[in-house]
Symmetry: C2
Subunit: 357 residues, 2 copies
DNA sequence: TTGTAAGCGTTATCAT
DNA sequence: ATGATAACGCTTACAA
């Protein structure tokens, strides 16, 4: 027995329209034909009473929430903007909504923000949720899409990734080949995601192909928090600067920090040290010098992920892994001419002009 | 009559623990004392069955969703990261979750993503939701906090703002006074928020105080979409560059674009043209040259907003308007020395050294 | 085409 | 301290 200051319910509308609640429901959900004239009355009654259905009740009855959750460890990277936007757009079109929450892997054990009890499905960023939980979700068939990572074991979660290895390999090769760099440093992202490891692998592969030695001293491991990136990078550069002519940063945020540090150190980019990043975030083109980087279709990643959860939710077939292609965007910071160039990974090695910027 | 592949319910737990559902509920919510030993059995039963309460049912019974919605027109600015993060942190501590959705003012008339039917309260970004809707929410006492704007009419919605006018005034005065700039351009944000207007007012006030003429030709109105900022700004600068020695940008994103455009135009910053922004986004310090700007406590804005909705939800007293102070951050782009300086608005006009960066 | 009534999973009132 | 049971607002099978 619960008492509440009543908001208007479907019964109020029904009474006002002189029909049963069932009919109103049917009209609302188009779940069965309703006489045109009856529909008019219902329509009007709803307007008059300012009715809006209580989603909790609907969810309880139907076991559908029309809500998808996105779980990430942090949402303060600029990087998340396009990602969320992409997801939101697609979900919105389909009348779903996006619920987001952060979650520290390990820490929030068994107390995740989302699950079958409050969402129809989730999108999981990188290694935010631990394997044990994923396995459980898999067992109960809870719709779940993985972002920037592969499923643990042989679980059949669909996942969305971008091409990392080949992109960074080509970028590094470009530094070697086109700009004659030999002592190339690599800066890991603060967290060892699969992405990050693949990028380093691409970097190493490029060195190998050109017979350059891999020097651990030129690699900054990601043992720092994102907020401390500036200090960590500054210290790292102080060590290697005298013996280094290029820096491959794990992502644009890091490249930005590198640029700042080099500026303060009075080092010219790209003359003395070339700098490249990954992502092609919105600021990359406006940096001084404009940043050579890899264009990752982050918004598309979000869109694809959203589409996949929706398919999962509807019981439709999904692709197991979606690997989105990336492009090299050659700007000034690697040593290229001022004009922006763009190179598709799948294309032959002849850069084509990038229209506009 | 609905049939579903049953997930475990509170009754299953009750049966397993040989108690009634009511007792399990009481144990779960600490709403009444439960014998220690009974608690043990319930605890164990829940674990064994992997029980987690269905939130929709709970929401239906209690009329509480433990969810707060944030409505904005777009969430792809880097700017939103800290904002969301701040809100999320506070809500999370209080076991609430954050639901986010975009909404185009005017377009989504009467079909908002959030409302009393699915959330306990909302945070509204700038003018995303139209006054009519706000008035309705106000009438029914729906918890709602406004961000970066004042309430329409004399409505008593709490709102959270940052100090815009004085900050931009001082920043502009700094350009005039410390760096002798006379022909200062102003670039509006793509959407005329209250923030934006206050910033322009600050700019004009500074000119007035120093007897400089206001020249409409030096002001770029925000009649462009964010994605087209680059072109709009480039065109604008092409017009005014010959007669302009400083640019006050409406925010850091715009300042970034200005920097990029000036670089391409071969203009030296700050020697030929000084550039300043607003927000002190994470990239500002790393730009070349480092950006002089106004530090806006965006994450704090989020935190305060979240706290206010929670107070509203709990029926506690709230501040009508929270005006958060901003600080000038003097870096190189205005013409100051390389070392970063910071100036509190409330302090006297003697810049103090900024610890670290 | 419409109405009746059961049921969704939880909380809360009233007993005991 | 615990148990029965109504109620939350909606959907849907079944009947008419």
């Amino acid at each position: 027995m619960v008492k509440h200051s009543q908001a208007t319910t479907i019964r109020d509308v029904a009474r006002q329209a002189r029909v049963s609640a069932a009919t109103v429901s049917r009209y609302l959900n188009r779940s069965a034909p309703v006489a045109a004239e009856t529909g008019q009355r219902i329509q009007q009654a709803m307007r008059e009473l300012g009715y809006s259905p209580r989603l909790a009740a609907r969810a309880l009855a139907t076991h559908k929430t029309y809500t998808v959750g996105v779980i990430s460890n942090a949402l303060n990277y600029a990087f998340f903007g396009p990602l969320l936007r992409g997801m939101d757009e697609v979900l919105r079109e389909q009348e779903y909504r996006l619920l987001m929450a952060t979650c520290i892997a390990g820490q929030d054990r068994g107390n995740l923000p989302f699950g079958p009890h409050n969402t129809d499905g989730v999108v999981v960023f990188a290694n935010t949720v631990d394997d044990e939980q994923l396995i459980e979700w898999h067992a109960v068939g809870f719709p779940c899409v993985l972002l920037y990572r592969l499923p643990p074991g042989d679980l059949s979660f669909p996942c969305v990734n971008v091409e990392n290895h080949a992109a960074v390999r080509q970028l590094t090769e470009h530094l070697i080949e086109a700009h004659g760099r030999r002592r190339i440093a690599f800066i890991h992202a603060p967290d060892y995601h699969q992405d990050d490891l693949q990028r380093e692998a691409g970097y190493r592969e490029a060195l190998r192909r050109y017979g350059l030695p891999y020097d651990a001293a030129l690699v900054l491991r990601g043992d720092y928090r994102r907020e401390q990136a500036s200090r960590a990078i500054e210290a790292f550069l102080a060590r290697v600067l005298s013996d280094c002519d290029a820096v491959v940063a794990g992502d644009d945020d890091l490249a930005l920090t590198v640029l700042g540090a080099l500026y303060r150190a009075g080092v010219n980019v790209p003359e003395q040290v070339a700098v490249v990043g990954f992502d092609d975030q919105h600021f990359a083109a406006s940096l001084v010098p404009p940043l050579t980087t890899v264009r990752a279709p982050t918004e598309t990643v979000g869109r694809v992920a959203a589409r996949q959860v929706l398919r999962l939710i509807r019981g439709e077939a999904v692709e197991r892994e979606t690997l989105l292609p990336t492009d090299l965007v050659l700007r000034r910071s690697c040593g290229c001419a001022g004009q922006s160039l763009r190179k598709g990974l799948s294309e032959s090695y002849h850069p084509q002009m990038l229209v506009g910027r």
